[in-house]
Symmetry: C2
């Protein structure tokens, strides 16, 4: 979409007209309550494919009209089917085979993965609970997302059974430490069942070395999950996808199009390499919902493999954006965000008053840095300096929020005092916006 120009606005108005017409039509009792088509027929009759090249805006309008016509019909299930398959192809699983689901966010996708790993190793846990299995342990890096621990707490595994593996100075999991801790756990009689590698950590944007981790998981027969909630979308970029080399060897992957692909919240996918596992892990076969005597192919009834019952339609916006941008459109916006973050990095790495939190080019769009105002910059007393520096970012952010000019988050990490973490996921940002950001930090932090 261009900057609110006439063409874009006309297009949006046409979409609105389609929706308003749909509302009016829904009051008309002579229209059908459902325009049913058999899933296979629907799949074959229309072109639902996701291509490299974008469709025209007119094509997009046709898709909108078709979808609102087939409402209640299995059109959204088909779109999920087509899109998940495409995502699995991009991961590199053979012929896009496997399984998956759209879940309400990355935390829940990660929880699904842990649930599947446990069930794969001990299927009896479904009926008999955790008391029927030995003590299970999971592994993830100390920089991983807190949802891994949250999931372990919820699933009755316990946060103490999540072993945090050391990360290097760039925030990447150290494979040798992973293997050491796995062996140590086995010696204690625990059962390692799950390794969650992170592709794009929250703070540093680091990519764990997936190939080395896959080797270790294979050797010790442990489920390998890749939490690519933040960094998974780099798979869409020919320039950056090498950072996820080895992901094709994972058993499952979390990938949130609502982050780097700029799909409106919520849109998170869990992709699973093994077919059928989600179904057997989660199904309860409630006979009032999942009747076996329906007139269509029941493989399109995806309800029983979810933890949820009804599910919000998260697929349509993603599918429609994909049609409108093409794979190359997503690639271009991702590449641009990474280019902007590199521009920011180059601009501040040697600038007076700035210090980088870690060396080297950003791996994702996370640029982590301290701004040292003149009053802090020249302090001799190291302890006093850190104490003062710790308070700088919170004050600058509060001032940013009050002026409303920009917003950059901050946090401490380990023994490092509060630093800024600039993250770029909006491809409409420009080099000038980055220049403005620097000026603004200096303007608001000058007196501190």
């Amino acid at each position: 979409a261009l900057n609110g120009d006439a063409k874009t606005m006309n297009f949006l108005q046409e979409v609105v007209d389609i929706m308003l017409a749909y509302i009016v039509e829904s009051f008309d009792r002579s229209t059908k309550v459902i325009d049913f088509h058999y899933p296979n027929e629907l799949l074959q009759r229309n072109n639902w494919e996701l291509s490299d090249e974008p469709e025209t805006l007119d094509d997009i309008l046709i898709s909108c009209r078709a979808t609102f016509t087939y409402e209640v019909a299995p059109v959204f299930v088909l779109l999920e089917y087509v899109t998940l398959k495409k995502m699995r192809e991009i991961i590199g699983w053979q012929d896009g085979r496997g399984d998956g689901i759209f879940s309400p966010g990355g935390a829940i996708s990660n929880m699904y993965a842990m649930l599947l790993a446990r069930y794969k190793m001990f299927p009896e846990v479904k009926e008999k609970g955790m008391s029927s299995v030995p003590r299970l342990v999971a592994f993830t890096s100390e920089h991983s997302h807190f949802s891994i621990k949250k999931g372990a707490a919820a699933l009755g595994i316990g946060t103490e059974s999540v072993i945090c593996i050391k990360a290097d100075e760039r925030g990447k999991m150290i494979p040798s430490d992973l293997e050491r801790r796995i062996i140590e756990a086995k010696q204690k009689g625990y059962v390692p069942f799950f390794v969650s590698a992170t592709a794009g950590t929250t703070v540093y944007g680091a990519f764990d070395p997936l190939m080395a981790i896959a080797d270790i998981c294979k050797k010790h027969d442990i489920w390998m999950h890749v939490d690519g909630a933040w960094g998974g979308s780099l798979l869409m970029s020919r320039k950056h996808r090498w950072k996820l080399n080895g992901v094709e060897r994972a058993n499952s992957m979390t990938w949130n199009p609502h982050k780097m692909m700029a799909v409106p919240l919520q849109c998170s996918a869990l992709l699973v390499r093994e077919e059928g596992l989600m179904q057997s892990c989660n199904q309860m076969q409630a006979c009032y919902l999942f009747q076996q005597d329906k007139q269509y192919d029941l493989s399109y009834d995806t309800g029983d493999k979810a933890l949820q019952c009804g599910r919000h339609v998260d697929i349509f916006k993603l599918w429609l954006m994909w049609r409108a941008k093409g794979t190359i459109g997503f690639e271009a916006q991702i590449d641009k965000c990474l280019e902007l973050s590199e521009y920011l990095y180059n601009k501040i790495k040697d600038r007076e008053g700035y210090e980088m939190v870690f060396d080297g080019k950003p791996q994702h769009t996370n640029v982590c840095f301290w701004y040292l105002p003149p009053g802090v910059r020249y302090l001799e007393d190291k302890v006093e300096k850190m104490k003062r520096l710790h308070k700088v970012a919170p004050v600058i952010k509060a001032r940013m929020m009050e002026y409303g000019t920009t917003m950059v988050s901050y946090q401490p990490q380990g023994d490092k005092v509060n630093f800024f973490r600039m993250v770029i996921s909006n491809p409409a940002a420009t080099f000038e916006d980055i220049d403005f950001l620097i000026e603004e930090i200096e303007r608001l932090g000058q007196d501190l």
Copy 2:
């Protein structure tokens, strides 16, 4: 909203204009990225209250404009705060005190409740997992929703530790059977920790006797949850809320405005009587997200009490509908749906070719019945008759879907062959629509 009339369409067009203006504005770099207001200030400055009486459409437009202005500001958290408090007042908890969250559906809300109950009794489970606690058992009626078992499987409790309590012929849990099974479990050395009573079962629409269940839970010191995903909204009706008498004694309640209140999917609330429990149960205090050195009152940071990280905004549509309809508007639409189902019941209970699945007026809007086509109606052989009858509803439903005229679900239950379950949750339905439904069933089933 009236039947697509000019006034409604003008209103919708104005809402659209507000949104389009918002899109255009978002491209303008001279506007603020956030118009920040302190939560308390925001709470006091505007009127966010939910009243009995509806606001005017002009007021609703003002609310829409205000909300789009405060985007990113804590406006949605405030709306959640105001709405959850109102819902707790309606439940009958003193001064609306307690806690709650909007979750992605009733299944997840029920899972939250089970998680809280377990943590309340054994807080060490969070760190140490299920292996640190005795064998826990949960209780729910044989007619309850399958999400209770799904939750138990996910949380590592196991489906075998969910004890199904007998229901009477109307589908209500039998309290004496509940107490018997609790005592039996204790004798085996198990620890009963959770009773899920259902307010509005999925198939029969039955309301479990909450008062008697509350007595038993109190006596045995067990967490009482009410799964009111389907029937909870009857609390809004002065005429029907007696069916939930005793809910005020529950520890938690699931209530889905996306069902009987006709809020678009997803909109499900979990309400909890004890304050602070959700936070301590679920928090992981990820320092990069939940900084303690922010400039505003941190009690508005609700993120860490959720299982999710980012959450879809489910509150705005509910809050806006409540403002537009008032409590009395919701009451009127709920009363109307129940009136329509009673009309259907009265119409078929003595009609030739129909048989009710259970006796008596529907408690909720579920009307469960068999239609016996002439070819089945007079069969002498009981076994043959049931065999044929079992196939009637699936064929009629398939035909309905192909014609697109209407849709009614069916299912078997226990030893009962497939029957229709007509559920009315659309207040735009009329008596004529019910008449049409009967005619249509007979038209499509005549020859079977």
